[in-house]
Structures are given as structure tokens and as C-alpha cells.
Symmetry: C2
């Protein structure tokens, strides 16, 4: 059995497993399935307008009676409206990211919500604790999608953050198996957040084309790029190649930034991940995609993680 | 007690811990101390001419009766002479790196030596096995010194390599504690190689200035740079800043390469790591340096790793 931790107690969940809140792939269906299976499901609000977010929250509440969370990237101007809507609809766990943990934590607490914040350095994790956040998620360089510039990997980020914070610590990036959950707990985490692994479940809204491409992906098929603007780890395709070509031209940094913003345009992530345009879409995924080539249901995945964790644990029982 | 594994059996050592063979910091004194403490000590031949290598091998043989290895970077023209010398002096374990595992493996086997090879991708690990190598070391993005271009982190590199190879697998990069050893074994490794952690022991030849600087280093104080030439993870200092400034200028790739080679010049690593010039020297170190601020003897370190490993193992005994 996967160990109960300070995180499972805080969130009142069975397993210390959080499903990453991701744009376009983690709506009501995925979040509810994860919560029903004993983890913490998360609706990724980053790709939703208010109306869509409302629909997903109401739908998830129909699909599960277990706690689930909403992930709010603070970089978007609509973040406050999203938070107010989610509170009104009864959401009690929020995960904020891409912004200051000081911004909404007090407000959320005054509305009796639990707050987690995502960051990518030990010092920022410490600042989250200082800001009053209830749990902190540290995301390593290997993680998919938007990521920090500092390239700290999960292996070093966990113990370095553990040294600085006493609130529940959640490891993210490169985690896709029961063995990796045990490794994360060994390194000092109280739980894990998995993104890529949950993209590859039947309940995620990722387009089948995208899932098929992840299934075929090898270890070297992702790169953290666009460091000149907002860093993001992408699965290699035609769009990525255009980004890479632009990044290796001898333009000034500001010219590169402008060219990258223009190339990205709007709607690229939706086009790739939700609509399945493998050529021109943006395909956000982590390094662990190179290891994943099955597409279980969420329940099957959680069962498998439990089996792997237990088999791994057994290895250390005999001295 | 740290688990016995296929690696400890192959190398006839007590603990599945290899000390990374590093330029300028791992001579006879460090290698012998590690072997005496139950790990595998390694003389880093990369920074030695034949005469110096001979001195270090002879000295290590006086200091320990346990097995130790020599690390030979194949990128240097003198690699073959170094290998022949080490064989003549009775070395029975070789670790080759920075080149093809096909080059010397058969020759080393015909001289009754055990061969390990260092690489940074799962596919290259598989090629090592195909080349007949006896064990393979996979080094993640977080590792110090020379490193791969592909940025796979230790967390994903271990399981992805484990899937492809059946020979003993050694994890490197970001490992500096007993907890990290347990995590590496959980992820599928048969042992670990630690570089940065052994730089920070009394027996390493790193200059005291360099050790003092590592002691003060924070999590964000290293960067993998010089990807245009030979990628290397450096501790930030004046020399690193010159490299970074050069890398962010809008020169063509080939102009950048030439400028980087000229800036590096020769003797930079010796100047920094052995002679303690913290301004103009090259200081190679891993991301885990941000967590290390003590300077134990090798024996004290190994004792500490055992205690940490055992305490971590105990956490998983209660279900």
C-alpha cells in the first residue's frame, strides 16, 4: 500500500498522488476519475473561460463526492474571476501557479480553502511557506509544459526544498511509476504530482493523435525551449522545429522574443493537445513520456502504481 | 545496511557506491580512501600525463589492498597509452567515458579487466551493453562537469535505461545522500556514482578555496553551459559569467564555438579546481552542491550515507 503521509492527511485523500492541472487535457472527467480512485483530481483552469470552468466544476461534482482541486495559473488576467467562481461553487482546494503565492493565499484561506502553490526552486518553496501556503509542489526540469528557467531536477529539488520547508512537499517532474513515487518519498517528498502519466489515461481529454504520438515517443523526444519568453517543455514536431530553428538563429534576444511570440500566436496548445494537429500544434509533455506506452483507465493506473510501489518497497525489506 | 546488488557482486565491493573519476580532484588519496571504506575508488586519469598516472596508481596500491578503478576519458589522444600503462600496473577495473564503448572493451576484456562506461542516454546505455561492457553508468543533467546535450535527468534516465539493459546499471547525477542512494535503487539502479559529494571530502584534491565556495553554494549556483562545444556544468564565477555573456551574444554558432574555445584556453580546470583561482578558473560541480556544506573524511561520509540509507529504509517498513 502506498504510504499515508502529511499530504494525504491534509487533503483527506487515500494516496499521496495529485494529478497535474494541465491546459486542455484535465477537465471534469479526468479530475473526477483521479479523485474517485483515491488521489487528488485537478481541473486545469488555465485553458478555460468562466463558463467552461463552471461547467467542468459542476460536472466533476456530479461525477465524484471526493475532494478535487482547481489549478489556477495566476499569469492570466482572469485568475481572480476564476478563483471567485470556484469558491462560489464550493471548491475547497486550490493549486495556484505562475505567479506570487502571496497574491490569493489569504483570500483563499478566508474562504476556508486549502492552498497549494507550484514552483521550481527551493527558495521559492520557502517563500510559499512564508506566504502561508498549505502545501507546495516543486517541479523539476524534466516536467512537461511550462517550467522554470533554472533547470533544477526533481532529484535535487526534493531534498533541497525539504531542507527549507516544513509544510507538505509534493514532487513533480519525471514521475510516472510506483517506483518513482517511492523514490520521491525517500528523497523527502510527502507526495507526488504527475502530469504526463495522467495525460496517458483513457479519461484525459488529450486528442487520440497526441496520445498515439506520446506512445511512440522516445527518451530524447522532448526539449525545454522558449527560454527567451515563457519556458515550456515540448514534444518534438514541426512546430517545435520552427521554435528550435528560431532559437538558434543569430538574432538579438529581444528580436528572438518577438519572433517567438509571433510564431507561437494563439491557440497553438489547443490545436495540438485537444484538436490533435501533430504538425502545427504545441504538444506539452514531460521527459518521462519516453517510458510510457500504455493507455490505462485512471483506476487501472492507480492499481498499477500501487502494485509497483509495493513490489519496490519489498525490495528494501530484506537487509 | 545499504543493499548488496549485482554491482557489488561484480566489483567485489561492500557498498554499491562508485566515486566519480574527476579531473584534478580524484587522485590516489581519494580513490584509496573510498575503496578502503567499502566503495569503488576511481583515479581520474583525464587530467594526468602518463608519469603522473603511474605515480597515482602505485600510490593507491600502497594505500589500499581493495579494488579500485581508473577512469579514462576516450576523448584525449593519450587514452590508449593510459590504458596500456594501467593494465601493466595491474588495474582490473576500468571506467571509460567520452567516446565509443566499442573502442577498448574487447582489448580490456582480453586483459582480464572489468569495464564500465559512462553515458547520458538510455539508447547509449543499450549500445554499451551490446559492446560487451560489464556495467554502465548513466549520468543525468544535474551532474557536474562534462555532460550530455540531451538534458535527461537522473529521475527519468534510471528507469528508461533499466528498461533497455540487463547489465548492472549505475546512476549518477544529483546523488549526495543515503536517501538518494535508496531512491536510485528504487528507480532500478544497481548502484550510484557520486562526484560532487566526494569532491567535498577531506581526501579530495580539490583546492580548499574551491571547497569553501561549494560549501556556500546555493541550489541555483550551477549551470550546464558551453553546449556549442563540449557541455559542462559549472559553478558560477567570473569565468562562468564570461561564458554566459558569450553564449547570449548574437554571434553565429560557429563564431560562438571559436570564441568559446579561445576563452576556455587551456589549464582553466586545473587553475580553478586544483589551484583555487575562484575568479578565472573553471569550477566543475553538480546541482547537488547546493545541499552540501560539510567536509567529512571519506570514512565519515560513508558512515553517514549508511545511517541515512537505513533511516530512509525504515520509513518504508511500516505500511
Amino acid at each position: 500500500m502506498i504510504t499515508a503521509t502529511a499530504l494525504t492527511k491534509l487533503l483527506n485523500i487515500k494516496f499521496p498522488i495529485i494529478q497535474g492541472g494541465m491546459v486542455w487535457v484535465s477537465g471534469a472527467k479526468l479530475a473526477a476519475a483521479v479523485s474517485n480512485a483515491g488521489g487528488l483530481g485537478v481541473i486545469g483552469a488555465g485553458s478555460m473561460n468562466l463558463e467552461l470552468l463552471k461547467l467542468h466544476i459542476l460536472k466533476a461534482q456530479q461525477l465524484t463526492s471526493k475532494p478535487f482541486a482547481v489549478n489556477i495559473p495566476l499569469i492570466y488576467s482572469g485568475a481572480q474571476d476564476q478563483i471567485e467562481l470556484a469558491i462560489k461553487l464550493g471548491i475547497k482546494i486550490f493549486i495556484t501557479s505562475a505567479g506570487s503565492p502571496k497574491k490569493f493565499t489569504d483570500y483563499l484561506h478566508s474562504n476556508h480553502a486549502i492552498v497549494g502553490h507550484v514552483t521550481s526552486t527551493p527558495l521559492m518553496a520557502q517563500k510559499c511557506e512564508t506566504a502561508g501556503v498549505d502545501f507546495v509542489i516543486v517541479e523539476g526540469h524534466e516536467a512537461g509544459g511550462h517550467n522554470g528557467r533554472d533547470e533544477l531536477t526533481t532529484m535535487v529539488l526534493i531534498p533541497q526544498s525539504r531542507k527549507l520547508v516544513s509544510i507538505p512537499l509534493v514532487a513533480a517532474g519525471g514521475i510516472g511509476s510506483g517506483e518513482a513515487i517511492l523514490a520521491s518519498l525517500a528523497l523527502g517528498a510527502d507526495g507526488v504530482q504527475m502530469g504526463t502519466r495522467f495525460v496517458m489515461t483513457k479519461e484525459s481529454s488529450a486528442h487520440q493523435n497526441f496520445k498515439d504520438k506520446i506512445k511512440m515517443a522516445g527518451p530524447l523526444d522532448t526539449t525545454l525551449c522558449m527560454k527567451e519568453t515563457i519556458p515550456v517543455r515540448l514534444l518534438h514536431n514541426h512546430f517545435y522545429e520552427q521554435v528550435r530553428d528560431l532559437e538558434t538563429t543569430n538574432l538579438s534576444t529581444s528580436d528572438k522574443q518577438q519572433a517567438l511570440i509571433k510564431l507561437l500566436g494563439s491557440g497553438r496548445a489547443k490545436k495540438g493537445m485537444l484538436e490533435g494537429d501533430l504538425k502545427d500544434g504545441e504538444l506539452e509533455i514531460g521527459q518521462i513520456s519516453g517510458l510510457i506506452n500504455d493507455l490505462p483507465t485512471v483506476q487501472q493506473l492507480i492499481d498499477q502504481l500501487e502494485i509497483e510501489f509495493e513490489a519496490c518497497r519489498q525490495k528494501f525489506l530484506v537487509s
